[in-house]
Amino acid sequence: MKLSFGKFSKAVMYKYWLIAQLFWQDSLVYRASFLMWRLRSFTSTLISLSVWSAIYQHQSQVFNYSQPAMLSYIFLTAILHSLILSTSLHSLANEIYSGQISFNLLKPINFMGMLISQELADKAINIIFAIGEINLLYLIFKPSFILPPSNTILIFIFWVALGIIIHFIINLLFGTIGFWSPDSWGPKFLFFMLIEFTAGKLYPLDILPQIIQKIIYLTPFPYLSYAQTQLFLGKVNNNQFLQTTLIMIAWILGLGLIYKLIWKNGLRNYTSMGQ
């Protein structure tokens, strides 16, 4: 029994591994597009580093951040964006609306498993390039980094994993718009804008006025990279460890439940009209 399960899981894993490989091949068909995408990420990090380097020319402490803390924040956010905010689900809504999703639903493979392997493949390719870019930026700016307290590294990795799951479910929710409408770009654009200012590379959330921070903390945005950076920089106290972890798990459960209901409802209405 144990052997057959092993064989089964190996075969299944191989199937998902093949999906990931296909995704990589597909991503690199239009190499220049991919290169441009990475160049864009590089440019936004470059802007932030340049602006903050100029700011610290005249002062050593701004918004309670020293220069090493701020530059560490920017470098870390750049890596976390590639890990947490990269996604392969951009076209899900369109695939549903156009009826293309039918092909995948008919295949003898778990649809969610397929989406997860594509998502992980996308994150893998992004993080490889991001590390290269970060090294290049390090050579340009030569910053001194703040390293995290050693007892928080495991929690940091756990929080990053939770951030990835929250972002994945949010993107699945955007995908479900395709069951009813071809216009998923409006909500996505708004989401990107909010991400830019609540988990962005340009500045950390805690420089904003208290009232804005309180409103933002009612949303999942701070958990998509800001919370992780604060943990890394040693700005989270013992009481906040558990509280933040529970909030992130609550978001996953809440959003997951909403997604499940919407997906079920959407599939019931789905007519594969475009095919």
Binding site: W37, I55, G186, M193, F197, L208
Partner: protein, 265 residues
């Protein structure tokens, strides 16, 4: 010549009215787009005002002057979007082969490709943001004269020419490589470096942003002139860059049209 211009204006007007109607069909989506734009503008301004509260100087400029650089960037960026949003759909035309139909029409293909779909959201958005920008500038502690305003307007026209040239270059590259979307977004990102004075960036990036992708000529020089500061490069250099870039882009467009193979159709 004048009658030809009238025809083109009439065509643009019809396209703009059609796009306007389309915008109102997708009301929900467009409201979200507009909300996103308002959030981006407000949060960027908030960041600058927060910076202003913390320091007096950023590079060689004071924080009031920095706000003028951002507002100039904002105006040029939105104005370009209003007119040249059509360029974003160009890749689909090339990929699907429908660019053949564009070539068959008795209107310049460049005009059709560039101005094919004005951005109505930005056309609406530019009005309140421009009024707000003028108001904000009037409250800042900066020195502006009538002469500096005239030069500023002329340099903004030059900035629009540079933006036009870039869009033409991107369309030409689109024909040659089919990678237009990546180039457009890269252009947008590089332009966004102009939110802050180009002089705060390190060499050789600074030099590249004045002469290879002349964002500095588009945003930094006009802002410096408005603020009565000595411009980093002369006004003549800015105009020369604008005109030569437009000339080069038109040459490249004509050449790339000859390379178009209609492979997708």
């Amino acid at each position: 010549m004048l009658s030809r211009l009238k025809i083109y204006y009439k065509i643009w007007k019809i396209i703009a009215i059609n796009t306007w109607q389309e915008t109102f069909i997708n009301r929900g989506s467009n409201i979200l787009f507009m909300t996103g734009k308002i959030i981006r503008f407000s949060m960027s301004l908030l960041f600058l005002f927060l910076i202003k509260g913390q320091l007096t100087q950023l590079g060689d400029y004071n924080t009031d002057q920095i706000i003028v650089f951002f507002l100039t960037y904002q105006f040029i960026d939105v104005l370009t979007q209003v007119f040249y949003r059509g360029a974003y759909n160009f890749r689909d035309k090339i990929m699907q082969g429908s660019f053949d139909f564009t070539l068959l029409k008795p209107i310049k293909p460049l005009f059709q490709s560039l101005t094919g779909k004005p951005d109505i959201n930005d056309a609406i958005f530019i009005i309140p943001t421009t009024i707000l920008s003028i108001y904000l500038i009037s409250t800042l502690n900066i020195e502006i004269t009538l002469v500096s305003i005239v030069w500023y307007i002329l340099l903004l026209i030059n900035a629009f020419l540079i933006a036009t040239a870039f869009h033409i270059l991107i369309l030409s590259l689109g024909i040659l490589t089919t990678e237009i979307n990546g180039f457009i977004w890269l252009y947008r990102d590089l332009t966004s470096l102009g939110r802050f004075p180009i002089n705060i960036y390190l060499e050789p990036l600074r030099l590249a942003l004045f002469f290879i992708v002349p964002v500095g000529m588009m945003i930094t020089i006009p802002s410096e002139v408005l603020l009565n500061l000595k411009p980093t490069y002369s006004i003549i250099t800015a105009f020369f860059t604008g005109i030569s870039l437009l000339w080069i882009s038109l040459r490249l467009w004509n050449w790339s049209l000859k390379q178009y193979s209609s492979a997708s159709s």
